[in-house]
Amino acid sequence: MNSGQAMVLQVDRLRKSFGSVVAVDGISFDVAQGEVFTIIGPNGAGKTTTLEMIEGMQKPDDGTITILGDSWSSRARSIKMRIGVQPQSSALFDLLTVEENLDVFASFYERQRPVEEIMRLINLTDHRDKRVKTLSGGQKQRLAIGLAMVNDPEIIFLDEPTTGLDPQARRNIWDIVLKLKELGKTTILTTHYMEEAEKLSDRVCIVDQGKIIAIDTPKALIGRLTKEREIHLTFTGGAAQAAEAEGIARTTEAVTSVSRDGEHLIVCSTRPEQTLYRLFGYTTEQEVQVEQVSIREMSLEDVFIAFTGKEWRD
């Protein structure tokens, strides 16, 4: 994957246990320059522990981490200068204003990105003089991401940046991540929202019980699943027309199953285009009106279920 690009992060057979609980059990992956890499998994899968080991906050029991060509044991300060971290708990100076927070954090680094520019990027320019205490959850989270960008880092780590936020606030965070991508930053992100991983990432790493289950682009992961798609049709003419269409669908090639609920018809097909062509041929001929048509795309959720055999719980 991305063989032409330089690897900015290499994680090799990482292992960490707390007492008898194995939190991370032999995780290995590489991240290329400019990639948005998402580690996804249910709560307690080992996402945060993995991330904290990479960020230098926890010592792995076993395995190696090479980050921007350096290792934590030899060049910790140099690594800290070049990475940006947003931890899960948004830790901020809550009696300081947005601008003051950014200012203090910027003073820690040799290299800095202008505070003005960061406030624009995280869309907090209007709230620059507001104390953190008075900000909303989403605004705090954006500031925490802003703090991870003050040194114009080469790699940014975002640990569950959208957990606990409302849909609008989540979308705002997504915008920031996409802007970071435009800036060519390498972003490593954890989440337990499948939708988010699908939307933002170049590559997704699915983790469960401390092990990597699958690692690939969202598209490829979904592609690895069966090609079968669900087609949903709703008929204006009611149950009778739907029943007739059901008969047609059953005799169509590549259809694996058909079910009907009143005027609503669900057809599963391994070649959905062909199936739809056949069905629409029939409706045009009979002048039957179709109210709604949809094809449900497979999501990473289906991937998770397919790979682990478990239900996905948000």
């Binding site: 800290k80 830790a91 100076f93 300081l96």
Partner: protein, 276 residues
């Protein structure tokens, strides 16, 4: 060096804002010690004075040269304040005594030949120091009068003087003032401790460790703000104590400075120990 200086200035201003924007700090570190001191000063400071004094009433059943002479000598005794500045009736005097408006009633001799000088005091306070003092003073005065009456001079007399071990006379207000300053220093230290524990709890310390910031500079700048807070407390309490309550700020400055630094550092140290 310059880089460290700049970082220190930023961290210092951060701690400064974090401390002085916290309303609790204003209340517990500034308002509370001042309030406590004012209350203590008012309650305990008022009664203390350098000398003993007592309120008495004189009863003169019948004017005569002897009673006149004694009356004059009572008026000359500074420690006695005579109610109404003149003799009153026995009934009036006794009712004052019952109400504890006065400490004692002195009944002057009714005639030149009468040898009795009556002393009435409240039964409930018969064991108090003031009762004993009044008794002593009165006995002494009668003895003097006796000697004078016999034209004899006393051969011996006792001169008593008390030497204080302090550099000057120490009053209760002085103790309150120094006590409050000590309390304020520990209070400020304690508060810094709470702030540090809070930073640890909400993950801010951990977050800072993810940055290349020098945690040593962070600690030093925190202590610098702590020193400022303590200095404000000392100056404020000292001023209020001296100006409003006339307390003596009779403190060895060098030892105050020593206690101030050691006190502030040790409380800040506790904070770091708990937070670490």
């Amino acid at each position: 060096m310059n880089k460290h200086g700049k970082q220190f200035a930023k961290l210092f201003s951060t701690h400064f804002k974090m401390t002085f924007r916290e309303k609790q700090v204003w209340f517990w570190s500034i308002f509370y010690p001042v309030l406590l001191m004012v209350i203590f000063m008012i309650i305990f400071g008022g009664g203390s004075s350098d000398s003993f004094s007592a309120k008495i009433a004189l009863v003169e059943p019948q004017g005569n040269p002897l009673s006149q002479g004694l009356k004059q000598s009572f008026e000359q005794v500074d420690v006695f304040t005579i109610m109404d500045d003149q003799p009153v009736s026995q009934d009036q005097a006794e009712s004052w005594l019952k109400d504890k408006e006065i400490d004692a009633v002195i009944v002057l001799p009714a005639s030149v030949t009468d040898t009795e000088v009556g002393l009435l005091m409240n039964k409930e306070s018969q064991n108090s120091t003031s009762a004993q003092a009044i008794n002593g003073i009165l006995n002494n005065m009668v003895l003097q009068a006796n000697l004078m009456g016999q034209n004899a001079e006393d051969q011996l007399h006792v001169t008593a003087d008390y030497i204080s071990s302090g550099s000057e006379k120490l009053e209760y207000t002085d103790f309150i003032l120094t006590g409050m300053i000590a309390l304020a220093i520990s209070q400020a230290g304690l508060f810094g401790m709470v702030g540090m524990v809070e930073m640890r709890r909400n993950g801010l310390l951990k977050r800072l460790m993810m940055t290349p910031v020098s945690m040593r500079l962070f600690g030093i700048s925190n202590m610098a703000v702590r020193f400022i807070l303590s200095a404000i407390q000392i100056v404020l309490l000292g001023l209020i104590g001296v100006v409003a309550f006339k307390a003596n700020l009779d403190i060895n400055l060098l030892s105050l400075l020593f206690i101030f630094i050691v006190g502030t550092l040790s409380f800040a140290g506790f904070g770091f120990m708990i937070a670490a």
